[in-house]
Amino acid sequence: MAQTSHGVGGLTYDAKKRAWPAEFNVFLALVILVVIFEAIGRIFLGDSFLFNTRSDVSGIFNEARLQIIILQVSIVGIIAIGVTQVIICGGIDLSSGSIVGATAMIAMSFAQVATVNGNPNPKAMFLAQGWTDLPVIVPVLVAIGCGLLAGLVNGSLIAYTRIPPFIATLGMMVTARGIAKWWSKGQPISFPTDGFAAIGKGLMPVIIFLSLAILFQLIMTYTRYGKHCYAIGSNEDAARMSGIKIANHKILVYVIAGILASLAAVVLSSKNLTAQSGMGVMYELDAIAMAVIGGVSLSGGRGSIVGTVIGSLIFGVIISGFTFLRLDAYYQEMVKGVIIVGAVVLDQWRQRLRALRA
């Protein structure tokens, strides 16, 4: 606080010094990345990354590639929407990947068909109880219930025992993964109803991801909930003194994150037509990385859902770009790591620059 009080009241206002929205820089990074892949493709492969070069397909852009770019990040993107809110509120959620695993197993058990090719479903969990061929709303509600419960435990632990979010959600990460394995003793759960399978079909994951992103961007900007997220993340003491009920708010934030992770589980298991206990491993880190690349500050208070969506697109472009350049998947992982650290370094650097200019 002291370093910013520098003599003059600083009343002169230079409109040019007005900072760009942080999302603009992230978007710029996305564009640059696309241009790089386009350039490399044109020079070394004689092919275009972005544009349609095939004569048997109409359209200016390579639509198949554009679809894949966003489709492959949609499911983790849904998780990232929740993780973004948690980080803005000054926390962290390591449990989302495991919540995906546990929720996928449990929800899929309520979405199975009774008979496969005329024989009883060999994978059905509740065949004896007759809980098969249930309407699609049942597994979806079961999933939301799982996410809600996990978020409630996370949030209550953090709000009432005051243990660091890192530890609380680490505990949930291990526990939820255990639940995922215990649920069917490690067996995959398969053969969902047509209704359940429709949730993850085609471009549905993209539609669900973007709808949720728009919804939560509006919530973060225009509602009391969003305002308090930013307030708690930037100065928890100030928020407390202003009369914000910190504990309730934190619980709500983790519950929302849990529910979003469980929705991701529904989409993922529906898309794959099966649920396995290993589903969603490392998703929590990918989601955090998307948020961080999208300009969400790990120290809380700064960032937006829009930023995270752009961050997820950067992820998608990198994966597609590497495939396009016919590079091994190993390199993707390596480069992903570098980009995550690079994004944080750049953000710090930008913040310091802004503080100097202010």
Binding site: Y230, N235, A239
Partner: protein, 255 residues
């Protein structure tokens, strides 16, 4: 009694065996600006913390706005109309000016519980009005607090107290961390509050500032009020004598 905004009787606070505040009798009238002075640990901040209910008093009575009050917490005190500018500002760095002014008491367009839609237009207008009323100059309301100077931050914190119909403003060393020009800016705001007839308790170590801005000076020493003087009837030398203990005994207000 009717024009008395705040009155305390035998206000006492003990932390275990430490008598931080002993039998403080204090009165504040409408439109009056009173300075509280004293050495470090003399009980100034303790006194304020009892009034704003940040801490619960050991004994004594407090009247506010004509009624005897027993606030259970600072939020209750604030709801009743006591606005405090804390030493550590209590602003959220990443929010803009209107959001900070309305933090924790946002104006809502539709009530949907936590997801209530904010009335951003109203809050922005009210912020502008508050800034005009307190003569605070902030170049760009949508800038976050993070990018403001110490003086501007302090101004926002003070403007916050003026946004709501506060009946009493308490400032705990509002210029302690500020430069010369920023201090002048904050002092101007305090003068504006005086012109608007808003009562104020100002904790300060700055003798010139106190004589410039306040009508009355109350000196604390070792947890007791040792002097209560109109500024016309005293001078810096006199006050220092009370602060250091060179002069003792309760100096009564010469009416």
């Amino acid at each position: 009694m009717s024009d008395i905004v705040l009155k305390t009787e035998n206000l006492t606070k003990r932390y275990g065996g430490v008598h931080a505040l002993e039998g403080a009798n204090f009165e504040l009238r409408k439109g009056e600006h009173v300075a509280i002075m004293g050495d470090n640990g003399a009980g100034k901040s303790t006194f304020v913390r009892q009034i704003t209910a940040v801490e619960q008093r050991t004994s004594g009575k407090v009247w506010f706005d004509g009624k005897e009050v027993n606030f259970t917490g600072p939020i209750e005190a604030r709801t009743a109309g006591i606005e405090t500018v804390f030493q550590n500002l209590a602003l959220a760095d990443d929010l803009d000016v209107p959001s900070n002014l309305f933090l924790g008491r946002e104006k809502v367009l539709f009530n949907l519980g936590p997801f209530s839609i904010l009335d951003r237009k109203y809050m922005r207008k009210a912020t502008e009005a508050a800034l005009v009323r307190t003569a605070v100059k902030i170049p760009n309301l949508s800038n976050t607090i993070r990018h403001m100077s110490g003086g501007q931050r302090q101004c926002v914190a003070i403007a916050r107290t003026a946004t709501f119909a506060s009946k009493l403003i308490i400032m705990d060393e509002p210029t302690a961390a500020l430069g010369v020009q920023e201090t002048a800016q904050v002092e101007n705001i305090i003068r504006t509050l005086k012109d608007n007839g808003e009562p104020l308790i100002l904790i300060s170590h700055n003798m010139r500032q106190v004589f410039d801005l306040c009508d009355r000076i109350v000196v604390f020493r070792r947890g007791r009020i040792v002097a209560n003087l109109r500024k016309e009837n005293t001078d810096g030398q006199d006050i220092v004598s009370y602060i250091t203990g060179a002069k003792t005994g309760e100096a009564e207000l010469a009416a």
